[in-house]
Symmetry: C2
Subunit: 230 residues, 2 copies
């Protein structure tokens, strides 16, 4: 049995859920609050970061990209044409570069600011750093988001999917990242038709259904968040 | 032919050089200054980060961990017992977790502060942010280093090598990280005998020779830096 420690609005956690769904690997989900210090969890992952996967109470598989590699190594072959890691070493390198770009750089540049300011600050108590969003930070996050949307558009225009002709982990990583921002209604879709077209394709995949059903108590999703035709 | 864009004191770059040497893959080295904006280099790696590897002028392989995976996929089989990525998915996950820990978390927590304050600030011009080291930053870097040394000691005491019974990329990652700090004479070896014993073993490998011969003009290495018996 698979067990995933995650947070609903954490981008690497969402990516791991998408990877599990694409691999047809059901997992029991345990939700964690990223800012809460949990000694038992630190024994699993000393870095204290999400997500963490365990299989049959075995050793922890820590980190979104490490989980993606693990699922490819243990389930990839059985997926045949739907495998999300390409065969050729150069294409694998490009997939890994983009996974890293969307799950680390794009999260640091933009998604994490939105999440912290618009979601975590509302869920946290005053002693944990809760409060109102900082409009200067949100302005910077929006400006950085435009840059990242342009890069996704650049890739989507030149390739069928972001890392090449077939869908890969790179698309799930970018999709996870944008889906969190889209929950908050912060993606200017009308300005980026190429990105919108690519996102519509990825959003229509069955793996996205549970993500689109995500709902935070007291912080509802933007109106179009669930619509496949937005 | 392999070509590596690197910086001598950059931890992920050193790790890539160690991986290349262990794979018996000679590469032409091109040194880059991480703070210089180079438009041609940004076309290779839009993230602008080091290291980047190219084989036969093919597509760029960007990032230390992506390079390690690429070398394993293209040369690993031929290395037999000396292969640096284990076979079992759980051991691979642990190797990747630790690669990430030493190349990202430990670099951010400690190595990068030493490099920036004690090396880059001396190499940069005044308009690039050059100047004297900040003693508060160095104090924080030393305190974080002790925590990381304790963790390496904890792993080395329980396992033969850091990720398990055999040497893996995790050892090269930790070795690359400590070697840069050791160049500056900042590792308190006498306080960590278990770490010292582990480092002596990794430092004695032939792959380390070029790293130990590294020398920056005007910023000499600590006296014991090259000694295998320090």
């Amino acid at each position: 049995m698979l067990q995933l420690y995650h947070n609903m609005m954490d981008v690497p956690s969402r990516f791991a859920r998408l990877c599990l769904a694409e691999a047809k690997a059901g997992a029991e989900l345990t939700e964690m609050m990223p800012w809460a210090r949990d000694e038992a969890f630190l024994l699993l992952n000393p870095a204290g970061t999400l997500p963490v996967l365990r299989e049959n109470d075995g050793p922890p598989v820590c980190g979104a990209q490490v989980i993606a590699e693990y699922l490819d190594e243990t389930r990839g072959y059985a997926l045949g044409e739907r495998r999300l890691m390409p065969d050729h070493p150069n294409e694998r390198a490009e997939t890994r570069r983009l996974m890293n770009w969307f799950l680390e750089k794009a999260v640091d540049d933009t998604a994490q600011y939105f999440i912290e300011e618009k979601i975590y600050k509302r869920l946290k108590g005053p002693s944990e750093g809760g409060g109102s969003p900082d409009s200067n930070i949100l302005r910077a996050a929006r400006s950085n988001l435009r840059m990242h949307l342009q890069y996704i558009g650049y890739l989507a225009e030149r390739r069928n999917w972001l890392a090449g002709n077939r869908i890969t982990y790179a698309d799930l990583a970018a999709g996870a990242m944008l889906s969190v921002i889209d929950y908050m209604g912060e993606v200017p879709w009308e300005k980026e038709p190429v990105v919108k077209d690519w996102y519509q394709r990825i959003k229509s995949r069955p793996c996205f259904r549970p993500i689109l059903a995500d709902s935070l108590k007291g912080i509802p999703a933007a109106n179009h968040y669930m619509d496949l035709d937005f």
